[in-house]
Structures are given as C-alpha cells and as structure tokens.
C-alpha cells in the first residue's frame, strides 16, 4: 500500500509553527497528523486532523500551495517539512516587526529632557567598506568563488578553506567590523545622547574588541576621530559588557552600493543566506560572505574564545574562532534539497518580507 505524502494542514509561517498530515492533497482523510514548532521543530503527534484545521481560526494559513497551479505541495519526509518551516521562519525575520500605528499615551515620567544631541560627522559604513575593499581587493586570489556555500555536499570543503585562511581573511573582517561601527554612529547620529543607543554601541564595541577586530585599549588610535570621541565618552567601561548575541538585530548594516536598500540590520545579512539556498550563487565574492561570517563569529563567541592582545597568540586565536564560526555555518546554511517550486515560493516570501522595510540609502552622499 502506498504511503501518503506529508501535506501542510495549517501553518503560522511567521511563528515557525505548523500542523502537517500524511494524506492525499485536497482531502482531510489523514493517516497521521503532527504538530511542529520552533525552536526545536520536533514532531508532536496529534490525534485528529480537526485540531490542525481548527488552527486556521487562530492565525494559521490554510495549507501550503504552489503559486503556479494552486495545488498543495507534498513532501516525502518530515525532514523536508522541518527544513521549510525553519527557513521560512528565518525569512520571516527579514521584515519589520509589527509596530503600533498609535500606541497608548506616553508616560509623563518617560519624556526626554531637552539635551543637545551629539552629532558626530561620520561617513556611512557602506562608503567606508567600499573604500577599504578598494585597497584589499575582491579576495579572488584568496577564495575566488563562494557559491559552493549553497551546496550541502561541497560546503564543508569550502568552509575548511575559509578556516585555513583565517589570517588572510581577517583584514576583510576588520574592514567590515569598522564599517559597522561607523554605520552605528552614522545611523544613530541624532540619538547618541540616549542611554539605549549608547549602551548598544558600548556592547557592540565590546564584542568587536573581543574578536580582535578593533582595539579599544587605545581609543586615540581608532581609525576615525568621531568614533573615538564617542567611545571615550562611554559612561561605563567597555570591557565588562555581556555577550549580547541578539544585538545583531539592532546594529544597522553598512550597505554596499549594490545591496538591497531594504536591508536594515546585520540580522538581515544573517537570515538571507540561511533562508535562501541560492544566495551565494548571486553573491560569489568574498566581501559578500564577510557579513555572514561576522554574524557567525558573534553567535559563536564565548568568554573563553576571544582574540588575545598578545601578538604571538593572535593567529591561533583568530583561527580558533573562525573555525567555530565555520562549524556553525556548516550546520545552519540550507541543509536539504527541496523542490524548485518550493524554493521559489520561499524566495518570493523572503523578498516580500524584505520589501516591507523602508529603503535606506547606501552611501552618505545620498542621505
């Protein structure tokens, strides 16, 4: 007897939660129904499909259908289903979080006193990264083609080469890390007097310092005067901040001229390659991989995994942390081959989410 395929019954895409059943498309005669939910996506058996269908009264979408013909997609095994829920959930993060059109009245105790904002004259991070790449080159002599990152069979080999090239890759990481700092100051230039903005910048400086990408022990030698001014003005020491990994979703992303202007934060540069299998088919050069590598370094950073200030140890430290980041990327990049029509639906969904963001100008000259 043929085994029924898996079909999506109900799916809360943005929340990474779905009910799927083994059944023929367009029927409710299910032989098995399971519930899957992030973060672990372990299947939980559900006794009856009615529970799954009732979810459509609670903000779940009705099934998952091919845009070309309106028919339900079918899947041979649950691992494909898990991969799709996972990647769609990450793609969902490319859009803005729902923000109130009109919130409750503000508290009279929360008003900001009139303080003249700091407005350092910082160039945009995107401009800076472009300028640094003019000097560093496109990395083609080092790692000429990153497109194998989209291929689960060949990805590990490429990531091993990245790992082995840690010292040579570091200048690219430094350039992008410095660009993020400049972008922070640039994007938040009228908010640097606010405690939350200052704290974000302080934490970001701490993380980049721990990764050996900037040297905060000598702020006067920082690469840009407006930034060293801001850093010197920190109210609290930079060397005792928490390892705040969610900061990736608050740090504005420096934009190269050809990047989507709707990209807002570094988190978007993390989600795009993890959600879209073909991302590196269109972004083959090393400088396009650097933002993802920086994000992976932040995610895998641990108190004992930092880059020493002592010169003889630095090369081994860099190699160690890049190794951990590559190991993480090998697990997190798209894992399975899914049908092209499903891949296409995922791509369209990701792009539609990204398009909901307000566009940013990539260079300071166009602000």
């Amino acid at each position: 007897m043929a085994i029924n395929p898996w079909c999506f019954d109900s799916w809360a895409v943005m929340d990474g939660v779905a009910f799927v059943s083994r059944r023929q498309p367009e029927t409710i005669d299910a032989t098995s129904t399971v519930f899957l939910s992030v973060p672990d996506l372990e299947p939980v058996p559900i006794g009856r499909i009615s529970t799954a269908l009732r979810a459509q009264r609670s903000s779940f979408q009705d099934g998952f259908r091919d845009p070309d013909n309106g028919l339900e997609f079918t899947f041979d095994d649950l691992s494909q289903v898990q991969e799709i829920i996972r990647r769609a959930y990450l793609a969902g993060g490319l859009g803005p979080a729902p923000a109130p059109v009109e919130g409750p009245p503000p508290s009279p105790f929360r008003g900001e006193p009139p303080v003249a904002p700091l407005q350092p004259n910082a160039a945009s991070g995107g401009d800076y990264y472009e300028a640094q790449l003019q000097m560093l080159g496109d990395g083609s002599g080092l790692l000429p083609d990153m497109s194998d990152l989209g291929n689960p069979m060949r990805r590990t080999e490429l990531l091993i080469r990245v790992h082995q090239s840690a010292d040579a890759i570091y200048p690219f990481l430094v350039a992008f890390a410095e660009a993020t700092l400049l972008e922070c100051v640039h994007a938040h230039r009228d908010r640097l007097h606010l405690p939350a903005t200052r704290e974000t910048l302080r934490r970001w400086c701490y993380l980049l310092n721990a990764l050996g990408l900037i040297d905060l022990t000598q702020p006067d030698r920082l690469f840009m005067e407006p930034l060293s001014q801001v850093i010197r003005g920190f109210d609290r020491p930079w060397f005792s901040a928490p390892i705040d990994k969610e900061i990736l979703f608050r740090i504005p992303c420096p934009l190269r001229a050809h990047w989507y202007r709707e990209i807002q934060t570094l988190g978007h540069k993390l989600y795009m390659p993890l959600a879209l299998r073909d991302y590196f088919s269109y972004n083959r050069e090393l400088p396009e991989f650097i933002p993802l590598l920086l994000c992976a370094l932040i995610v895998t950073l641990a108190p004992e995994l930092t880059v020493s200030r002592m010169q003889p140890m630095q090369s081994a430290d860099r190699r160690r942390i890049i190794g951990r980041a590559c190991e993480w990327l090998a697990r997190e990049l798209p894992r399975l081959t899914i049908p092209p029509a499903v891949e296409s639906a995922l791509f369209n969904f990701a792009m539609s989410r990204l398009a909901l963001n307000p566009p940013r100008w990539p260079t300071s000259g166009r602000v």
Binding site: A12, G16, P39, L53, R54, S59, G63, F64, L248, V299
Partner: protein
C-alpha cells in the same frame, strides 16, 4: 466497535436537564453531589472563575497589539498561493454553526479556568475580560472541526447535532462543563480541587469552544498568560549560550521575537504572568 451515539448525552434536553438526568441515574454518592456543588462554586466565582481564552502566537500577538484589532484568520496565505476558493471544511463548519453571511464577525476562543489555553494555537494565552463576552454568545461542547470527522459526521442530521451540542455562555456554560466533568468523578470518593477542575475543563485538545461575535481589541484583554515550558526553554537557550554553546539561528530569532512581545505588552500595560496548567501562579506549585 460501532454503535449509536449515547442518547443520554446527545439529545435535545437543556444542559441543566442533562446534568440532572445523569445525576439521577447514578448510585447515590455524597461525594458526587458535593463535587457538583463545589465545581459550580469554583466556576462561577466572579474573580477567579471561568474565562474565555484565545491563544495567539508571538507574531500574531504583536500584529494584534499594533493594529489594535484581532484577526482570527488570514484571508491570504503568507507564503505560497491561496486556494481558489475558501476551504470546503471552513465553509461546512461555518454553515453547521449557523454563522451565515456574518462568518467573518465570529472569533473562536475556548473556556478555561486558569491555565494557558490550547497551546497548539499559540504560546500566549489571552484571557478576555468577562464583561466583553455577551450572555448569548454561542458555545459548543467541543472543537467544531470534530463535526467533520466520524463518528459525528456519520451521526444524526448535522443541524440537529449542533443544536444538541451548542449552548450559550451565560445559561449553559457551567452546566455543559458539569456534564463533561461529573462522569469522570463518579466513584472517586473524594472532593475535587481547583487544579483538577482546571485541568478537566481544558485538557490538551479537549475544550469547550466559544464563538465570540464582534471585535477583540487590546482593551478586551484581562491578562496574557504563558506556560513555564516556554520560559524554561528560553532560559535554557540563554544559559547554554552563556556556557559557550552557540544558539541556532532559529533559537536566536525565537528569543528576539519573544523579547518583542515583552516590550509590546509592557508598552500596552497589559498584565502578563506565568501560570501552570493548574491555573495557579507558578510560585504556588
């Protein structure tokens, strides 16, 4: 084994009549009478009694607070294509429940005594203020989509069946629940506790469904409840991360989404708390 539906349960009598008929058929049992009285007291208590709850996922909750209006279904899918027409199951359920052309005005909830609702439908459980539920709000003794499946789909004419299983919030809710709970207590020889009543009223996918008519807005919310399970999962991810085990990208997004909910609830001034399945504050376990 097939057979007819239980005529003591599936009939046209009112819910109080069905409770009385069931009690009259039992061997005299002082604990059963005592429990019936106790359950009524627990459920009818104005401050801690029955509530209508709506479970909602993080993104939907954020959307609800942003739009200041709850939408209980998506007209269009978020990903992929829409059906060419509404699902036959949804049309069938709408017709069976008698929604007619006003189907979009009805919002689905569940009856609960404490607890975190039907968590399959969302990790956040919104308890509605009692006064936003009209007395004549329709309730059904089960998930309405069960009407689509055997044995109910093979049973008596569906409109008769729905009439037998439905009731209204004010007049029937307590009696409907009593009819559901008492058979499970026969022969227990002890008085029931609030925690047990809470678990029996809404257990896993078993619940009394509420068809609330009219908009649900943030001002309709008495409180938002969460299960300790999600809090424990959140703490575990964070502690693993602090110990040097990198979170997955999905875990990062999940934490980020949950933080957004914390911020939104604080901004709205909506009371939020962690409760156990028994409906009590976690600290009283």
């Amino acid at each position: 084994m097939s057979g007819a539906l239980d005529p003591q349960y599936f009939n046209s009598d009112s819910w109080p009549e069905r409770v009385n008929a069931w009690l009259a058929n039992q061997t005299p049992d002082p604990f059963l009478d005592g429990n019936a009285t106790l359950i009524r007291q627990i459920m009818e208590h104005s401050e801690s009694g029955l509530r209508v709850v709506v479970n909602i996922s993080a993104e939907a909750l954020l959307g609800f607070l942003a739009a200041r209006r709850y939408y209980n279904l998506y007209d269009n899918p978020v990903i992929g294509a829409a059906r060419r027409k509404p699902s036959p199951e949804r049309i069938a359920v709408d017709q069976m429940l008698g929604f007619g052309s006003d189907a979009n005005d009805f919002y689905f909830g569940a009856v609960a005594l404490g607890g975190t609702g039907v968590r399959f439908y969302g990790e956040y459980c919104m308890a509605l203020k009692p006064w936003v539920i009209a007395d004549d709000t329709q309730i059904l003794d089960r998930d309405s989509y069960d009407l689509l499946l055997p044995p109910l789909s093979n049973g008596p004419p569906i409109q008769n069946l729905v009439q037998q299983l439905a009731g209204t919030w004010k007049a029937d809710c307590v009696e409907m629940l009593l009819r559901k709970l008492l058979p499970e207590l026969a022969g227990s020889n002890r008085l029931i506790t609030t925690g047990t009543v809470s678990e029996m009223i809404l257990h896993d996918q078993e619940f009394v469904e509420v068809h609330k008519r009219g908009v649900i807005s943030p001002s309709s919310i008495e409180e938002v409840r969460q299960s300790p399970d999600e809090i424990a999962m959140e703490a575990r991810i964070q502690s693993r991360s602090n110990a040097g085990y990198a979170p997955t990208a999905v875990e990062l997004r999940w934490l980020q989404q949950r933080q957004s909910v914390v911020d939104a609830l604080e901004r709205e001034g909506i009371h939020s708390r962690i409760v156990t399945l028994h409906g009590r504050g976690y600290q009283w376990r």
